[in-house]
Amino acid sequence: MESRKFIKDLTIIRNIPLNARHFILELQVPDEFPAMLPGQFVQVLVENSPGTFLRRPFSIHSIDVQNHSFRLLIQLKGEGTRHLAELTEGKKVNVIFPLGNSFSLPANPEVLLVGGGCGVAPLLFLAQHLHQHNIRPTILTGWRSEADIFEQAEYEKYGNLLITTDDGSCGEKGLITDHSVFQKETLAFKKIYCCGPDPMMRSIAAIAKLHRTECEVSLENMMACGFGVCLCCVTPTLHGNQRVCAEGPVFDIRELGW
């Protein structure tokens, strides 16, 4: 289950701003292109950033095996991400990858992907991966407003895209959990994959539990090493404290006791 980990200097092929607070880094992998699965993440070293000390973790957003590249979707949070946002084509970043476990393939094709905020990050890769297994998921993403929405076309390539916006400027108005797919007596899905802010994931988990639907979530705990040795990123589970960077970030909600 554990894939081999690499430390490599990756070249930035593209830096694509998406909206005021998000951008994409497309990275070129030299030599061997490791096997990567949706749900996995990477640890990026931020250089010339005196206010930061540890690496910064990001989900793998999408991969291009033929091109030997992959993309990270990054939200601007502080000094570390601000430095990364300024990196231009041709610059290099040192990355440890691939890390963590992955979403498991569903037994049944009726699946729903739910992403809030930059929680959408690992879900594009998941949608890509499901597509390769002839599964066309429903993808539900939540945004503040229409102006914030990005990569609509990318998601529509792989699945049926549903949208909520807080202000109703696009799709259904309200929170992700307000969407009409959840208001039916019988949920139309056999499995839900969810990533986003903790309260949102817990609300989705509650809905899944109510409908006795399988559900996997991707947690985001603060990490020091990111590759399983420091034991800082643990989350409580039925089997004691487990590492979000190693036994996770993907967990079945039953394992979490949610």
Binding site: R4, K5, F6, I7, L45, G51, T52, F53, L54, R55, I96, N221, M222, M223, A224, C225, G226, F227, G228, V229, C230, L231, C232, C233, V234, T235, P236, G240, N241
Partner: protein, 304 residues
């Protein structure tokens, strides 16, 4: 080619670079990144008498040039280590040291006795200083009498090299060093983490679930260097130095201060291959300074 080997009591290490407990797992977690046979030794994650779940999340906070942790000795206990982990790591071609922790003298004795039976373990490192455990650990490491007592109790049962790891959260590190040396320690290692705290100004809450935690990383190096220097003058037994070592120059500073070997800890999180780079860097330094052996650096600090 310079000689990098060092002596630590009865132990001979191929080079002075070791890894610190709690930062290198059990060694196997790093085999994707480096060849363990390049290291002088590894000190594995703390082993206690029985299973410990550790502290609640959050267990860490990034700080200026460092980090705080309050992991709380999470491990599955000595029997699990003996049955499941030891067989996997016993054939690593490097000096394997087991860090031993406990809440009572009896627990330290129990763990030490069981590690006695493990042929491929060269030494144990007695952790009397972890500041994250609510009782026991803290008390032993901050009072000379109890530090000596637990050292002596383990010395009576443990047959191989006994390393005692000191806490810096004390009034006189020299006094602590003398106490454990008198208790029968073969080697002293220091420093463990410095007790610290982080607060989130927006939520107005502590960042760590335990409120306080241990500070590590470059921020603590000046304190660690000073303590290694003081301890090296206070005792005759060998000293292993650690605290914020990020590169070969840092490592050499500790050797000059009096350490016979060093441990690299937090730096492993930033660069999992840093230990090998440090070995190579020490080699280059010796070449540059026309030195034949790394042992020429130990305690070679020039003071008036």
């Amino acid at each position: 080619m310079a000689d990098l080997s060092v002596k630590l009591g009865k132990l001979i290490l191929r080079n002075p670079v070791m890894t610190a407990s709690g930062t290198f797992g059990y060694g196997e977690e790093f085999t994707d990144f480096i060849a363990l046979d390049k290291l002088g030794g590894i000190v594995v994650k703390a082993v206690t008498g029985s299973n410990r779940y550790g502290n609640a999340y959050p267990r860490m906070a990034e700080t200026a040039s460092g980090m705080l942790n309050s992991v709380g000795l999470q491990n599955k206990g000595v029997d699990h280590f003996t049955r499941e982990i030891y067989p996997r790591i016993m054939d690593f071609d490097t000096c394997i040291v087991v860090n031993v922790s406990g809440s009572t003298v009896e627990e330290y004795i129990e763990v030490a006795e069981k590690i006695n039976e493990l042929e491929k373990i060269s030494a144990i490192e007695l952790n009397i200083s972890c500041p994250n455990v609510k009782h026991g650990g803290m008390a032993f490491g901050t009072i000379p009498a109890t530090a000596m007592e637990v050292t002596r109790a383990v010395r009576n049962v443990y047959r191989k090299e006994l390393i005692v790891k000191l806490s810096p959260n004390v009034t006189s590190i020299s006094e602590m060093a003398k106490a454990v040396a008198d208790g029968g320690a073969d080697i002293i290692s220091l420093i463990n983490t410095l007790l610290g705290m982080a607060i989130d100004a927006e939520t107005r809450k502590p960042v760590l679930s335990t409120i306080t935690g241990g500070l590590s990383g470059p921020a603590i190096k000046p304190v660690a260097l000073r303590m290694v220097w003081q301890v090296s003058k206070a005792v005759d037994i060998p000293v292993i130095g650690m605290g914020g070592i990020m590169n070969a120059a840092d490592a050499i500073e500790f050797l000059l201060a009096g350490a016979s070997a060093i441990q690299v800890g937090t730096a492993n999180f930033i660069d999992p291959a840093v230990t090998v780079k440090i070995v190579e860097g020490i080699e280059k330094y010796l070449l540059r300074h026309n030195m034949r052996s790394v042992q020429e650096l130990i305690g070679a600090l020039k003071t008036a």
